[in-house]
Amino acid sequence: MATKLKATDVVVIGLGAAGGVAVLPLAQAGLDVVGLEAGTWLTRRDFAPDEIRNNVRDWPQSVQKAQQEVPTHRVNAKAATTRAGSHPMMNAVGGTTLHYWAQSWRLNPWDFKVVSETTKRYGASRLPKGSTVEDWPFGLEELEAYYDKIEYEMGVSGQAGNVKGTIDPRGNIFEGPRSRPYPMPPLRSTGFIDLMAAAARGLGWHPFAGPASINSRTYNGRSACMYHGFCNKGGCHVDAKNGPHLTTIPRAQETGRLKVVTRATVTSIDTDDQGRVTGVTYVTDGQEFIQPAKVVLLGSYTYENSRLLLLSKSKAFPNGLSNNHGQVGRHYFSHAQGAGVTALFPFDINAWYGLPAQGVAVDNFADDNYDHGALDYVGGGNLWVMSDRRPIAAASMGTFGRTPTWGKEWKRFVMENADRTNTAYIQKTTLPYESNFLDLDPTVKDPLGFPVCRITADYQDNERKITAHTQDKMTEWYKAAGATATQANPLGTMGPTTHAYGGTRMGRNAETNVVNEWGFSHEVPNLGVLGASVMGTSGARNPTLTVQALAWRTAEYLAKNWKSVTV
């Protein structure tokens, strides 16, 4: 028998990058907020520099909810379904910002207008067949104030490339105009990063230090980064990696308006006969609770956002909440996180320390920053070279076909080359397609008996062409810096990933989008959705800063329009 709790103004589902940000503008506006989080608080004492625990064993110190709900995947509706061994996200107050790379990019202006800009420059026929991409309901100029807000509230280090239209070649000359510089200078460089930057300049490209939600100096009373080398899927032992657990959530708690409930697994969003949301049902330690609320903000991860809506069936929404137009789960896409390039240098590059956000970017081949006139695709990729190495990963390096993968010869190869390789990450445009979507798996269930999310998705020609082009450019860059061997890594499949988008897309047209331009459901006026699941394009950028900016904007809209939303 479920226990019915005292009603609140707003329930936020998930206190990660999205929900953890939204609570602050709501609490500051005087609204009572209950934040439901499946995980727990973790502190710097939990963040040992331990590759086994962090990178091999998926954070056993955290609540393992996501690990019990790993989505299944098939490349198309006729293909066999497979299931990955682990989920790349985690549950905790602060969510995956506890162990992410913390690269904090703004989208470029083109990313908001892929359809109209492509049509204008290359003709409508250039848009890939089968793609369901739309322009965003607004441009960068609308989101700029919120990017700025997050960069300062959270703390982002970086080098501006365009302040109010004035280009600064030390930063990204391709970025859209920003109202002011970053609050902190970029993370420092390394000897190897300097070498790569010089090689890029030699090629006539424009290298620059990328932005990171990591303190390059003391910021708001928290330490600067210690560059200790365990940031990649590791928590920060000095709280220099910024997330909601260190910033927006404690600030919201200080108002006395936010109640944080940990170890809460939400099982449904509840509705009345009029089709309005009445609150949520959640389970903690086997006990069921009903938390009534005037407004529900769904801020779980992309897979769980669609899943929870599809699981929340009612008389008014027989196919899942806010799904009477059949759009929940549609327009799904994810970054092609494979397909980097690995290089071998004839000297030690001293990359045992540092972090994935400490590096140098080249944006010349991203978005529409170069002429696609003679090409037959749209978009591109951001080339990213970083200082990131840990011992097990280093010893697991590929051998460029030079030795077997074990035994005497292999041992000598690894002893000589463990500190001589570097793998670049290439962040590439991916578009949504009719054939790529999320739904509920017909057979695989979580421990509570609910179906897990099923991903049906495959990269299309456009993504494969971007991959080939950007890998060629990356190879050229490494060779210019003195690499003696390079290897283009495989693209892989579109299984569960940290960069998953869509499923509850944002747009003015209710026929093709789940939420409106403010992030509220077209079908359920008092239901808002937060996270990359509302994004219609990804650009060649890590998603988190955009997720946070959108979350703040949706929460601020709710606070300012409380009466009309809750009528």
């Binding site: 520099p49 110190q61 790993v70 011992p391 035994g407």
Partner: protein, 239 residues
């Protein structure tokens, strides 16, 4: 190593050390056939014991399985003129311990794999693996690695891949987990050790840092890892 620090020693650590002491006592430190147990052993024997990789108490495998695993690990990362290998790193100990915890879901695959491996060895080479020369051991392992070895559940390549992955984890992972003994794995690849603060100069080209031989848990601020006893594969059957 974290296991040997005076502070923060858990009951589990104590039990573990008791087990290790028990294993050490199987090495005949005192002359067999009487004599004063308290008397110091001859220096030559002390030296020999110090040179011998210490075998710990077995926690999850059978004695025969542990011997076989030890021998396989020693061919994956061999001990040779270039330096110590997986045997000195105690990679097999890391795996044996993990099979009772974080790798518990792999235990059936190990049990079945060892049995198939032993059968294949005897039927194809006429001898158990431990009695083969290094060269013949390698040829068996190539069969297993390439999937050519018969009698395995599924492909033998999956068994090889699993053992290789865990051997690397046991050799190059933090010593806290029972492998990478005396930091031999980290020294092998030149990893200078866990640091909590790294300077700009430490990241310049041409800089060679002195290995500090520190585990993550030599820094007292960190809560020790408590590996989840259940794994993904098991947990998904929870309903």
């Amino acid at each position: 190593m974290a296991d040997n620090t005076k502070s923060g020693v858990s009951r589990r650590d104590l039990l573990k050390r008791a087990g290790m002491a028990g294993a050490a006592m199987t090495i005949p430190l005192t002359p067999v056939g009487g004599g004063d147990a308290a008397a110091a052993p001859p220096a030559a024997i002390v030296e020999a014991v110090a040179q011998t990789p210490r075998r710990e108490a077995i926690e999850n495998l059978t004695a025969a399985e542990a011997d076989l695993l030890e021998a396989i690990c020693a061919r994956i990362i061999p001990t040779d003129a270039s330096g110590p290998g997986a045997r000195e790193a105690r990679a097999a100990h890391f795996i044996d311990r993990a099979l009772g915890g974080a790798l518990a879901s792999s235990k059936p695959a190990y049990t079945a794999g060892f049995a198939a491996f032993d059968r294949y060895c005897r039927s194809s080479r006429g001898k158990p693996f431990l009695e083969l020369s290094d060269r013949d051991q390698d040829s068996v392992l190539i069969d297993v690695e390439t999937g050519a070895a018969t009698g395995f559940q599924g492909s033998s390549a999956a068994f090889f891949g699993m053992v290789r992955t865990h051997t690397l984890q046991g050799t190059f992972g933090d010593p806290f987990y029972g492998g990478n003994a005396n930091f031999v794995g980290w020294d092998l690849i030149g990893y200078p050790g866990v640091r909590t603060n790294v300077s700009a100069d430490d990241q310049r080209l041409g800089v060679k840092l002195t290995p500090n031989h520190k585990s993550a848990y030599d820094t007292e601020m960190f809560t020790k890892a408590t590996a989840s006893l259940t794994t993904n594969a098991e947990k998904t059957h929870g309903h």
